[in-house]
């Protein structure tokens, strides 16, 4: 037997060991933290969480270009990082949408609030007036209708902009009134943090200004001593403290409800959103639903695999056993790839994986059927194996390519309709089909070659007693 076959066999053994090592659950037997760095990424329906598609709604006069959308995505990403969700996913789609996935987030409602709120901080000059908290103001940075507050207007629902404080505001339209000058805005912040207020008991938002903004602020505060200044968030006045002394770098914002302090700090640190966002699609999955389904799916997969293995061995005997070994290696390799890429596993993805196991058997069945035919025609065992592979390959290739065409289209479909569940399925099926072709030509073929080279030559011992008889089928003549 050729050296190349032994070499391939060695490669297969190494591949099997490495794949199994990567694919196994848990992180025992870790080397240099590699396994711990590549856990199985579980999708939304397996660990619960939130997926939301946000669409940018540019205000009058604002153009939405690629940079603005990317900037918005980055702002959202910074806010998400502030939430402390592991493995979040934030990506743009098309030219005006951002998809955010937050697996395992505790409070989806709050999360959407944090993401959606524009969170534009401004300190404005109220021209000597005391503006009560809750007042809507127009500023030099934009009119009041621009900002998205805590209750965003959504196309299908009734718009209702709720002011942050309890004071009711007559209507949600642009108040006719003076335009106040913005002294500094959120963009001038060097940092924002949670700190204690003047009374020492409540938590407030602290901020630190950078460079030129701090000198501008210093100028403003020193020339307006004794007068009020208004702190405005999303065009609503939060508080209007009196300027008691010149401030240059640090300050605090009082008047934010204690439950919102943390959220606001996250938003200020991440920056304000450049363009208002609407939620056009969302999906929240509770945590318990996922775990239950995962266990059941793994059980189902194992049972399915067991039945297939039994069937193959019973029907095809020794080559059937070869195919089962090839299938096990296939499972390990595919799962290892899922962990390495990584591919986010969803319930549908697991279904796709299990489906591809069933289809991986197909290639083996094709090969064995061909080999049997070659034996019927009277060929000896070793050439029968070689010819069997050669003749089976075109069918394997053609049939798998059509499946790959559909997975490709499926992937595009999932990509443009906002569900990672569909793209996950397409990806798992695609990987499954590709690897199944690989294991059929490499693993199954090599194992068979090795076996026939070192084993008995009588085909009946491999396939059973009936294999050397010609089939009962004859060509029908009309």
């Amino acid at each position: 037997m050729r050296n190349r076959t032994w070499l391939t066999l060695a490669f297969i053994v190494v591949l099997a060991i490495v794949s199994s090592w990567i694919a196994l659950p848990g992180s025992d037997f870790d080397i240099a933290g590699f396994r711990a760095a590549h856990p199985v990424r579980r999708g939304l329906d397996l660990q619960g969480g939130l997926q939301v598609v946000l669409q940018a709604r540019p205000v009058a006069g604002q153009t939405l270009d690629r940079d603005t959308l990317e900037g918005t995505r980055q702002t959202l990403e910074r806010r998400v990082n502030g939430l402390g969700v592991s493995e979040p996913l934030i990506q743009t789609r098309g030219d005006d949408q951002v998809i955010v996935e937050l697996p395992g987030v505790d409070d989806p409602q709050a999360a959407i609030g944090i993401l959606q709120q524009t969170a534009l901080l401004e300190i404005v000059d109220p021209l000597g007036q005391y503006l009560p908290p809750g007042t809507e103001v127009n500023t030099t940075l934009g009119p009041a209708a621009d900002a998205v507050g805590t209750d965003a207007a959504v196309p299908d629902a009734t718009p209702a902009a709720t002011p942050v404080a309890a004071t009711p505001v007559p209507d949600a339209g642009t108040p006719t009134g003076p335009v106040y000058e913005t002294i500094i805005s959120g963009a001038d912040l060097k940092n924002a943090y949670v700190t204690t207020g003047n009374t020492g008991m409540n938590q407030v938002v602290g901020f630190e200004l950078q460079g030129d903004a701090s000198s501008k602020f210093f100028q403003y505060t020193s020339s307006h001593l004794g007068q009020p200044m208004s702190i405005v968030i999303d065009k609503h006045v939060i508080s209007s403290p009196t300027i008691n002394g010149a401030i240059s770098t640090q300050g605090i914002i009082e008047g934010v409800p204690p439950t919102e302090v943390d959220d606001l700090v996250i938003q200020l640190k991440a920056g304000a959103l450049a363009v208002p966002l609407d939620v056009i699609q969302s999906r929240t999955v509770g945590p318990t639903l996922g775990l239950d389904s995962l266990h059941k799916s793994i059980l189902a997969g194992a049972i399915g695999l067991g039945i297939v293995a039994l069937f193959m061995i019973l029907y095809y005997r020794v080559p059937g056993l070869v195919s089962v070994i090839a299938l096990l290696i296939y499972t390990a390799v595919v799962f290892a790839i899922f962990k390495l890429l990584p591919v986010t596993l969803t319930l549908a993805g697991i279904a796709g994986f299990i489906l591809s196991i069933g289809m991986a058997v197909d290639a083996n069945v094709l090969i064995f059927a061909r080999i049997k035919e070659e034996l019927h025609m009277g060929r000896a065992l070793i050439p029968a194996v070689e010819y069997g592979f050669a003749h089976a390959w075109p069918s394997i290739r053609d049939s798998n390519i059509t499946t790959m065409i559909t997975t490709f289209i499926l992937y595009l479909f999932g990509n443009y309709t906002g569900t990672s569940i569909i793209t996950g399925f397409a990806l798992t099926l695609f990987i499954g089909v590709v690897i199944s072709m690989f294991t059929a030509i490499t693993v199954t073929r090599t194992l068979l070659r090795v076996l026939v080279a070192i084993g008995p030559v009588d085909p009946r011992l491999w396939f059973g007693p009936t294999v050397v008889e010609p089939p009962a089928v004859a060509v029908a003549t009309q």
């Binding site: 989806p108 409602q109 959407i112 209750d151 965003a152 959504v154 196309p155 299908d156 629902a157 209702a160 609407d278 939620v279 056009i280 699609q281 969302s282 999906r283 999955v285 509770g286 639903l289 389904s293 059941k296 189902a300 049972i303 399915g304 695999l305 069937f311 029907y315 279904a351 489906l355 069933g358 289809m359 058997v361 197909d362 069945v365 059927a369 035919e373 075109p394 069918s395 053609d398 049939s399 059509t402 499946t403 065409i405 559909t406 997975t407 289209i409 499926l410 479909f413 443009y416 309709t417 569900t419 569909i422 397409a426 099926l429 089939p471 089928v473 060509v475 029908a476 003549t477 009309q478």
Partner: protein, 315 residues
């Protein structure tokens, strides 16, 4: 077993019998579309004490929601309900209102799932679904024309495979239309996924048979087309069944033991693949023979003649 192609009228009849009930249901009742295609909100809640659908509906109605559909989901003891209503965005004050309304009128509950799809997006999804199925079909047709380019009629193979695939799609759609009628089963984007997978698998199976036919045509040029197809089918039927059986085993295991949320998805896959196996063995090749023997052309001519006869004034 050895006259699979010759008995084609029988197989076509069986296929029609299977398709017709589903087709009738499709025409008169259509498919129950889920929120992915119509927009709206789907809310799966589980109460900790017994509740009824009408209680839930009343509670929401009093809070000002119109167009509510409430359905029990899962076994009787579960107290899990699926609420379908117009869009209420996640994270909005409105949703908090409705949550409070439900809690005070019906009782405390845990939220298992909450999905909303905006109206504009759902139209997009609907269009893209149709586009995806169309693209997949065209793609497959083109590839098959290429793969079978050195036969006499390359497009014939692709078209027959496509018709067989259409049969499978109709079977799945028909079954889900009936399920929608009887059990209010809704289709979503995942259903389209199953459909596309079924398309891929159906053709996968058919190609193997066609490959064999092509090979035998080259090897036995003196035999009749029908005879060669018979022979090829007999050679490949065992392998075809085996492959499908392994896939069906794994899917059955998933349906019986797997998690609930993908049960409908797997069911669609299962029905489609069973149908795909049947159509690969009993429909696709038979269509080839029917075309080669001119039967399909004769059928069309009879149709057009009957129609033009009917147009003539009674003499």
């Amino acid at each position: 077993m050895t006259r699979l192609a010759s008995k084609r009228k029988l197989w076509f009849t069986i296929s029609l019998i299977v398709i017709v009930p589903g087709l009738i249901s499709l025409i008169f009742s259509g498919l129950k579309l889920g929120i992915d295609f119509t927009g709206g909100t789907l809310w799966e809640v589980r109460f900790s004490q017994p509740a009824t659908a009408s209680e839930i509906e009343a509670a929401l109605h009093n809070a000002g929601v119109e167009n509510i559909v409430v359905q029990r989901s899962g076994p009787e003891t579960d107290e899990t309900y699926l609420i379908r209503m117009p869009v209420v965005p996640e994270g909005s004050g409105r949703k908090t209102e409705l949550t409070r309304a439900l809690e005070s009128s019906v009782g405390p509950f845990t939220e298992r799932e909450y999905s909303t799809v905006g109206g504009a997006l759902s139209t997009q999804i609907r269009n893209r679904a149709i586009l995806a199925v169309a693209l997949a079909s065209i793609g497959i047709l083109l590839y098959m024309a290429y793969a079978f380019r050195n036969t006499q009629r390359p497009l014939l193979y692709g078209s027959s495979a496509l018709v067989a695939m259409l049969h499978d799609v109709l079977v799945v759609l028909g079954v889900f239309s009936i399920l929608g009628l009887l059990f209010n089963v809704q289709i979503d984007a995942l259903f389209i996924t199953a459909l596309l997978t079924v398309i891929g698998f159906s053709v996968h199976d058919t190609i193997v048979v066609f490959d064999r036919i092509r090979e035998n045509l080259a090897k036995h040029p003196e035999e009749s087309f029908e005879g060669i197809v018979d022979y090829s089918l007999a050679q490949t039927i065992v392998r075809s069944l085996n492959t499908s059986l392994t896939v069906i085993f794994t899917l059955l295991a998933l349906v019986l033991f797997g998690g609930g949320s993908t049960r409908l998805f797997i069911l669609a896959l299962l029905i489609g693949i069973v149908s795909g196996t049947y159509s690969s063995i009993f429909n696709a090749s038979q269509l080839l023979v029917a075309w080669e023997n001119g039967e399909i052309q004769r059928l069309f001519r009879r149709f057009s003649r009957a129609r033009s006869d009917a147009a003539l004034p009674a003499s």
